[in-house]
């Protein structure tokens, strides 16, 4: 009973942190849409959005405002409540995933230590898996509730693809967890920061490669955006949607991309660690700030890679996608896991 005693200061601290994380991820998602168009323009030798504000920087706000003020359309034949629930679930699942990511070490304000992580839990990485597996419902419910054959087909494709790649992703991760021995993301970062340790990418290059491919599939990004294949399916599972509900589906994709980048940076690239810098020499607040900046730089690089791939690699065919996930990545991830286990045990008992 006493263990759950209510601590109002802690409550407010966490509430502020949660608000910053949620609105921060929404802000980054907003600007990812802008960046995507700029990157696309750059790669296709165009200029991209440049009317709203300098360099088109106000474009995301114009788009957002437009989405809010658009007419809500719920088709006559749709299931009304499920139709509303679908995008809500997609967005909620995207927003809650970031709860266990350590953004930096901790701040010290007036003697109070504030960890820059919403919750450091024992099973951190599994929580992310749980939240990701909920994202599937957003797609399935939305596509089914629309009562449109195209939407339904796209939703089935999207859901099957997401669940198929979850497996290889999980097994690739196990190999990493064998190295770390913990599921807490904070501890995983601290292990990588410790002197004499390198980032996990050095120990798990193949695991990371499998992981990033699966992340692309989970986020429904090209080359795996089969659920939005407009030449076969019109627009995808959200084709009956308009207004903010459509906005949620599009936005959830960018929030997912942001969180996925943060997860990859945390697991394989040292999280908020700055290479060749001993953070313990700095004062805690400066170290925390440097840490956030370092993590953000890594995240931005990953988001750029997402976009780079989108405008470089054409879409897979659906049978190729399934083949890759089940027959190639899954055995490869299993082999990676077993080989990692053998190498670690051999080094341990040498």
């Amino acid at each position: 009973m006493t263990l759950l005693a209510f601590d109002w200061a802690l409550f407010i601290e966490k509430l502020v942190l949660i608000a910053v994380v949620i609105f921060g991820s929404l802000g980054i998602a907003l600007y990812s849409t802008w960046a995507e168009r700029k990157v696309a323009a750059f790669m296709q030798d165009r200029i991209g959005p440049n009317r709203a504000g300098p360099l088109g920087l106000l474009q995301p706000f114009a788009d957002g405002a437009k989405l809010i003020f658009k007419e809500e359309i719920i088709p006559n034949s749709a299931n009304k409540w499920l139709f509303i629930l679908g995008p809500g679930m997609a967005m909620t699942a995207a927003l809650i995933t970031s709860a266990v990511i350590p953004w930096s070490s901790h701040l010290e304000i007036a003697g109070r230590i504030m960890p820059l992580q919403v919750a450091d839990v024992n099973i951190g990485i599994l929580y992310i898996f749980g939240a990701v597996s909920l994202g599937v419902y957003g797609i399935m419910i939305g596509g089914w509730a629309s009562n449109n054959k195209f939407s339904l087909l796209a939703a089935l494709r999207g859901a099957s693809q997401a669940i198929s790649y979850e497996l290889a992703m999980g097994i690739a991760l196990i190999a990493l967890l064998m190295l770390t021995g913990t599921l807490s993301l904070k501890e995983i970062v601290e292990q990588q920061m410790a002197p004499g340790h390198y980032w996990n990418i050095v120990y798990q290059p193949l695991g990371f490669l499998i992981f990033i491919v699966c992340i692309f599939a989970e986020c429904n990004r090209t080359p795996f955006d089969l659920s939005e294949a407009e030449n076969e399916l019109n627009m995808g599972y959200h084709q009956e949607y308009s207004s903010m509900k459509l906005g949620f589906y599009l936005f959830a994709e960018y929030v997912n991309m942001f969180v996925a980048s943060a997860v990859m940076a945390t697991l394989y690239f040292g999280g908020y660690d700055v290479p060749f810098l001993n953070e313990s020499l700095l004062s805690p607040n400066v170290a925390a700030l440097v840490g956030i900046i370092a993590l953000m730089v890594k995240i931005v690089i990953f988001i750029f890679i997402f976009m780079w791939v989108r405008w470089t690699i054409p879409r897979f065919r659906y049978d190729q996608l399934m083949e890759l996930g089940w027959k190639k990545l899954l055995p490869l991830a299993l082999a990676n896991m077993l080989i990692t286990a053998i190498v670690i045990l051999w080094l341990q008992h040498k």
Binding site: L4, A5, L82, F129, G130, V136, Y137, M140, A159
Partner: protein, 170 residues
């Protein structure tokens, strides 16, 4: 009433409400979603018992995998034709009897347990148990229960064969 008790009652109310909604809903897809909500609130209970790994596995496997399968199955059905089975009186009577017997057993279990532990009541260890943490659980699983663990994989093998036999008719 401490915060633990408040959280417990809220979670219990949520669990019961969504479980009832599973039965009451006319649309099978609604039922599945209420079942997902039920699993979530049960996971909340697991967390209160400090069975953290169990809580998240409940979400991943039941809410994330099995319920997706349920949704697929419902979408496989033809929901246009109203194929609600004609429930005759005997079926209803059978349902009431078997449900009542289950309820009877549950109540008697709770009652005999309460009588046995009279004087020195045992309360579920809220927040203190450590066996539900992944490290301890894994240790027990791979030392004490290694054989059942291996037998699990045989079970999975048979399940896979079953799935393929049902799914592939050639």
């Amino acid at each position: 009433m401490g915060i633990t008790a408040i959280v417990f009652w809220i979670l219990s109310a949520l669990t019961l409400f969504s479980a009832i909604m599973v039965l009451v809903s006319k649309n099978p897809v609604h039922s599945v979603l209420w079942l997902v909500a039920t699993f979530f609130s049960i996971s909340g209970h697991y967390i209160m018992l400090n069975a953290q790994f169990l809580a998240i596995v409940n979400v991943i496997v039941y809410a994330g995998a099995i319920m997706v399968l349920f949704l697929f199955v419902i979408m496989l059905m033809n929901l246009n034709t109203k194929t609600e089975m004609k429930k005759n009186l005997w079926m209803k009577l059978g349902g009431v009897i078997s449900g009542g017997m289950l309820l009877w057993i549950l109540i008697s279990v709770v009652r005999t347990y309460a009588e046995q532990s009279k004087g020195h009541p045992k309360i579920a260890s809220v927040n203190t148990g450590e066996i539900g943490l992944i490290k301890n659980l894994g240790h027990v699983l791979f030392t004490q229960y290694a054989l059942p663990f291996e037998l699990c994989s045989v079970l999975f093998l048979s399940a896979m064969v079953g799935a393929v036999v049902i799914g592939k008719k050639n």
